[in-house]
Each structure stands twice: as structure tokens, then as C-alpha cells.
Symmetry: C2
Subunit: 459 residues, 2 copies
């Protein structure tokens, strides 16, 4: 089925061709992302204010809008080489199935045990914690991809890892929990008796199943009140997008090697960690005026931050214990409908991506979940990989673009990010197979309730 | 951490370096494996007798002891290239953790959605069924790896796929079932109302949870009584070992590329599909007297076919509907203890491997499951991959051999087969974490009961 131009099914880089630096897209942005604000003073958070929560080096990365390239420390490169380069795959079989003249490529980040791209930043954050001589880190996890990745990373560096897992997920996703335990993490159902905020919530709402907001609050409390601990986060932050740039830098190196230039780059968007990483070097060329690419963010219709949200300062967490960020947001009180499967349920969006979208450097679209699962199944049957629901948002858009090419006869080159595997999402697949999955699009009234919670800060 | 000799963490072959032939180790065996017998006549099964059950080309492969190399059809090569070459990994991190001078390599077959090496043969069997113009195939599955692989393969070629899944597994492993459904397979809990044998068993044992023997009988009945259908099997058979030789041929090509010669080759052994595939080309050199390797089969202490079984003609299935094979067997009535986790619970063993073991070309050892899970966890924490319990038997033996090298100071090169991932085995991991996993070694009396069921055929 391979075509005459002899692009292999999977393009791998040799180890000596792999990226040795992360790329900081902020360095090429004329309009920088707005700074995090201290919600009390409404002043930009300083390094000093962030230091009790985050590792020193990560604070530096968070605030650095200028350094273009960060050398990746050797220890992180060593770890990356256990599962990177991730394959860049030419989707010959999907193209044939669709009968499209488009050339479709995907960068597959699910080929590591954590099952997603989250490991790229987890190992970096664990490394800097270790370098700083810390004992351990705390975090929260909902669906569990981030917690799994962080557990693996901490295990590698011998760091203590405490994961606050939303209680309903802890009970409904015991397998995710066991993967984390295999890597030596202590996994605590949240709310718990181990923190003040947890005890308080338990006394006020006995039997509650918890929430991400509460889990964040517990993880932050433990980090700041235990010497030698810091809190880490798997998305949204600038530092996370910096680490995740390895996805895009690698993809671009592999495409350059074969002279492939994408016309369209597609990624799913929740907090922005994958999308920001995938597009980084391409966006850099676009920002510098060297090349043009169509860049498309795909989000769920049930949680449409980009396409229906407000560009405003808002809290990053439902518990409102974290700094405020300027971003596309549905309001920190917004919760997607309970029938929503998988991730991408975050109310906000990376400040970097929000600014780029606001300034017209990328597009966004929303898709409904049944059409996402149809795309997932179509993809799985010909390309062999069982995709995560999150990743399948990008598959949906890639298929749609390829079908447009079929109509017009254009031979466009499409690159999309396949962020992870769906092994822990089979309850959702089952619902889909049994015809029990429905779509949900919030009404304007639903959204207004979320918007009402956005603080009235006009800066 | 990489050492001065510059062996990369992962050795990949370029597409033009990938094997294009399967290797049939039988061609180099002076003593051929004993033929399958018709249990009625006690005469070797003919191609004509096998044709109603298996595809024509597969019958030919099953009976062919002479052809050394089989060209892999282009369509199968195309499919292989979606997930092959599988990585050959230098376990630098494990070596460091163990403090061993040994050099450890593993061939990782879990990097495809089915999660194991089973796909290598599933795609071949589906291809030949398609070539023959069949409508579909039937099979049974217990733990589900084989059923998943076959579903993927049938989906790719547009074949109907009917999987009889042991009812207890169907109910306890709904996620495996959903993966198969994603690939379009019809998954039937066995015993079922869809076959005579199923209805008979249900009427005699209402509420039974089923057994692999019953599922085989149902799958075979459906295959032989429906025009355009054949039955397929994922292990034990000669044809399966032929297809799985791609593992070993690829591993050897990658090692040859870097001048690496293994001293010890280790594989887990249930029916023999992985072990037979991994060792094939190395065994070929050994049989031809060109090189010597230590080859070690690792089996569970709870199901010790090689180390405590009899070398005799026996039924391949508990239902006794299939031909008899000469092999190391615990008796077709033997069932490993219910506390046994994961696969490798087959009472018999590939006839090829049985003959090679009998003739002294390989060793075998048995290991207990808690020590297997300890090895799995140790491996996962440093190498990042969550291994299947089956694969972890090989990890256990590889670690033990590496620790012996630490004592003696020998720099041996160890190659082991990492057959798959453990995403669907987390109930077993949970048991292990919670200290609820126990070991079980059958007594001589337990084994005698199984031996009593071996037919008294002395040939």
C-alpha cells in the first residue's frame, strides 16, 4: 500500500537526530501571554511567591518569556530515550479507507506505559525536584493519565509521590490506581482525612465523591505544609508547554528529514499541554513570518473553552487556591455534563495558546462525542491503535479535513497529534457500542452560569 | 547512562532491513516433531482431514517439516510495518539497578494495540482466510490477548470474526471484550445457545462459567458447520510458531547489525508461541552446529508442563475434539490453581518445542508467581513498561541470570522476550500490592490426576 514516494509507515529519528533542546514559543511571540496574578493583590506573581509551591527551576521556566531554547538535561534525555523518539506515522491505511488524496501523518505519544504524552513533562518536573534535593512531590489526578506519568517519573528518580485522586475516579478506575501503585506512588482518594481542607469538606459533605478542585487544594496544602515537598501540575502552565515542545520539535525534525511540509496541524485541546507541544516549532516559524500553517485546536462541544468561552482573567482551579491566569475560560465553576467521556474537561486553557488564538494564529472547532467515538473506531480498525477519547477529537478533525480534500481533490498534508491510548477508557467505548452514548451541548444559559463566576478583573 | 560501546537504548531496523521471510525451524531439526494424530484412527492427520477446520495454506504450513524459509506475503508485510519492527531494547536502567556486569536486551512485542505478540500470527491467519475467499473465522479466547489480536486482524481484512470467550472472563474482563467489539468482532460468552455443544452443556450445567475446552468446542462446531468459515488458534500449532519466527528473525537481524551475540536467550512458555518465535533463528544455528546458545523456557510453578510433565501423545483441548499431539503435557484435564494470575495456563506445549527440549537443545525452569510479580514491579519501575504477568516470567529468569553474573563478574549477554503489556491484568497487580497473592505448587498427587487422563497411546 506504500506509495511510490517511499515515505516509510513509521518515521523514526536516530538517537543522534533527536532534539536536545526544548523550544520556548513565548520567545517568538510579539504579544506575550499575560502573567499569572496573585488573586489578593492582583499583581503578577513573583518568583518568590511561587517558590513555596513549585520547584525553583520550574518557576524560572514559568516566568521566562525570552529564552528561546532550553537544553534538555542529560538525565531527562536518558529517560526520553527509553520511549522516544515517538513514532511519526504515515496513515496509509486510513488514507486508503477514506479514499482521500490527502497525506495524513500522526505523531503517536501513547507508546509508553503511562499511555500518553504526559510523561514528557512529568519526567522533567520530577528531575528538577530531585535536583533541588526535594523529598517528593504532590499532585492531583482525575482520569489518571497525569498521575500515572508522574508516578513513573518519580519512581525513576526515587522521589516520593503523593497523588490525590478524585474519589469517584479512585473507586471507578481501580486499574489506573494500581498502575500508580506499581510505580510506588501513594494514591489517596480525595477528599481525605490527611488534610485540613479534606477534613473540612468531609465534615460538611459526608459521602461526597470529591472533585478536581478539592484534590488540587489537598495536594497544594500537603506540598506547602511539608518541608521538602512541592506541588506539580500536568497541563495549562507555561513550563508544561515548554517540556511538551519535544513532541513538535521531534515531529518537525522527522518531517524535515523527508522533506514533508504539513499544510494543516491538528491537536486536541483540554488544558493545552499536547496541542501547545505539538505545534510549538511550527508556530514559531509562523510567528517569525517564515512559513504559514493552518493550525486547528479541537475541543469537545460539551466543554468549549476556545469556541464559546471568554478571554479573561480567571481562577485556574475550582477551589480558587491557585493564581489567576488570563485565558479562554468557561468559568472555574463550569463542569461539563456527566455523560462526557474522557478528559478535555478543563474549564480554561493555557495562557500561551489563549493569546495565540486571540491574536489569530490558530483556529478552533468543537466536536460532539459520538462523532468522536465514530472516528476513533474507524481509525482503530485500520490503523491498529486504540485511541484515547481525548486524542480522538484530533482524529475526528483530521478525517473531516481529509474528506474535504477528497471532495476538492487537493493533496493536502495533514499532521495530527495522537496523544494516547484508550485502554482505561473502555467503559466509554462500551457505552458507545451499546448505543448509550449521547451528545451534550451546553445552552447559552448553562454557559452564563459559568461566566458569572469569572472575577470582574479588567486588566 | 549509556555506555561507551554506543549501543542505543532501542535498536530499530530500517524498513529495508526488516525480515521478509518466516523461518521454519523444523527444516533444521534432525528429529522432527511428531505428527498430529487422528484420535479415532491413531494415524497422522492428513491435509484432507484438516481442511474442514483450517485454511488450506495453513494446513500446508502445519504439515511442512522441510521448507526452511517462507516468504511473507506483501499484504502481511504491509500490516507488520504498522507496528514492526518491534523495539529491541538495551535494559541499561535495569542493569544499573541490579548492579550487574551482564548486558540485558529485551525484544518488546507489546507495542501494538492488541498488547502482545499474538498479532504476528493473527494477521497471517486472517490473510490466508481472506485469500481462500472465506467469509470469516472462529476462535476461542480466555484471557483475551489472542481474541483481541484476531479481531484487529479480521477488521483489517474485512473478515467476520466470531470469538467464543469463556463466560467468566467475558463477565470479569469487560474491557477486553470492548476492545474486540471496537474492532467489529462478535464476542459470545461460552457456553452459549448458539451451538449444539453449548446448549447441551447449558442444559446439563445451568449457570456454569464455562471453560476454555468448551469454548474451543463451540468455535470448532461453528467453523465446520458454516460454509465459508474456518477455525483459527493462537498458539501450540507449528504454523503459529512459523509466523512468530518474525520475532526472532528481527531480533537476530538487529543484534547482528551491532555485532551483539547473546549468551542466554530466555522466553516465557505457555503453549510456546512466543518462545518458539523468539528462539527460532538462534535454535537454527544451534541445530546446524554453527553456534551455541543457552536457551531457557520459563513456566509457572503452578502449571509446569516442561519441568514436571510427561512427554506423550495427548489431546490439545480439554474438550477432546481436536487432534492429539505429542508434547510435554500435564494431561488435558489439568487445571492450574484458580489463584494463578494471567496466562501460561495451558496443560500442554508446542510439539516443536517439546521435541527440542526432549533432545536437549533447551532448558526449562519454573518460577512462582509472587516472585514473578516482584520482578515485574522491579522492571516496571526502572524500564517504564508495565509488563504482562506472562512476560514477567521471562523477566524473573533474566534478573536471576543477571544477578548470577553479578556474583561471578561475568559480562554475559542476555536476551529475553517481553511479550506484552499488563493493562488488562491489573486485578492481579492489585492482589499483589495488597499482599493477597499466594503461590501454588501442585503436589505429585495433583499432577497424577492429570496424568491419569493422558490416553494410553504408545507410539
Amino acid at each position: 500500500m506504500k506509495t511510490a514516494n517511499e515515505i516509510p509507515y513509521k518515521i523514526y529519528l536516530e538517537e543522534d537526530e533527536m532534539p536536545t533542546t526544548w523550544y520556548n514559543v513565548r520567545a517568538d511571540m510579539k504579544v506575550k501571554p499575560a502573567p499569572l496574578l496573585n488573586p489578593g493583590t492582583l499583581q503578577p506573581m513573583t518568583a518568590q511567591e511561587l517558590a513555596p509551591v513549585f520547584c525553583e527551576e520550574l518557576v524560572k521556566q514559568e516566568l521566562d518569556n525570552d529564552t528561546r531554547y532550553y537544553p534538555i538535561p542529560q538525565e531527562i534525555l536518558d529517560f526520553y530515550r527509553m520511549y522516544r523518539p515517538s513514532p511519526l506515522v504515515r496513515a496509509y491505511c486510513l488514507e486508503k479507507k477514506l479514499g482521500t488524496p490527502a497525506k495524513i501523518y500522526y505523531k503517536f505519544e501513547g507508546n509508553n506505559t503511562s499511555g500518553s504524552h504526559k510523561l514528557n513533562s512529568a519526567i522533567a518536573q520530577a528531575y528538577y525536584a530531585k535536583q533541588q534535593g526535594l523529598k517528593g512531590v504532590t499532585t492531583e489526578t482525575g482520569a489518571g493519565q497525569w498521575g500515572t506519568a508522574l508516578s513513573m517519573a518519580c519512581s525513576y528518580f526515587g522521589l516520593d509521590c503523593k497523588v490525590y485522586m478524585v474519589k469517584v475516579s479512585y473507586e471507578q478506575k481501580p486499574f489506573r490506581r494500581e498502575v500508580m501503585r506499581t510505580y510506588g506512588a501513594s494514591v489517596v482518594p480525595s477528599p481525605s482525612e490527611t488534610t485540613n481542607v479534606g477534613r473540612d469538606i468531609l465534615s460538611r459533605f459526608p459521602g461526597t465523591g470529591g472533585s478536581l478542585g478539592c484534590a488540587i487544594s489537598e495536594a497544594v496544602e500537603v506540598a506547602v505544609s511539608n518541608p521538602g515537598y512541592r506541588y506539580v501540575l500536568g497541563s495549562v502552565l507555561n513550563q508544561v508547554l515548554l517540556h511538551q515542545s519535544v513532541i513538535g520539535v521531534e515531529a518537525k525534525a522527522a518531517m524535515d528529514k523527508y522533506g514533508i511540509v504539513p499544510d494543516i496541524i491538528i491537536g486536541c485541546a483540554g488544558g493545552g499541554s499536547n496541542l501547545g507541544g505539538l505545534i510549538a516549532p511550527f508556530m514559531g516559524e509562523k510567528l517569525r513570518g517564515e512559513k504559514d500553517y493552518r493550525i486547528i485546536a479541537v475541543e469537545p462541544a460539551s466543554c468549549p473553552s476556545f469556541t464559546r468561552g471568554r478571554f479573561a482573567y480567571d481562577f485556574c482551579d475550582t477551589g480558587k487556591v491557585c493564581p489567576m491566569a488570563k485565558m479562554y475560560t468557561l468559568g472555574s465553576g463550569f463542569m461539563p455534563a456527566p455523560n462526557h467521556a474522557g478528559g478535555l474537561r478543563y474549564h480554561g486553557m493555557s495562557s500561551i495558546l489563549s493569546q495565540l488564538y486571540h491574536d489569530g494564529f490558530m483556529e478552533a472547532r468543537s466536536v460532539e462525542q459520538t462523532s468522536v467515538f465514530r472516528a476513533a473506531e474507524e481509525f482503530a480498525r485500520v490503523e491498529g491503535i486504540l485511541p484515547a477519547p481525548e486524542s480522538s477529537h484530533a482524529i475526528r478533525a483530521a478525517i473531516d479535513e481529509a474528506l474535504k480534500c477528497k471532495e476538492t481533490g487537493e493533496e493536502k498534508t495533514i499532521l495530527f497529534g495522537l496523544t494516547g491510548t484508550g485502554y482505561f477508557d473502555l467503559v466509554a467505548y462500551e457505552k458507545f457500542h451499546d448505543g448509550l452514548m449521547t451528545d451534550y451541548i451546553p445552552t447559552d444559559e448553562d454557559l452564563q452560569k459559568g461566566f458569572d463566576g469569572i472575577p470582574k478583573v479588567d486588566l
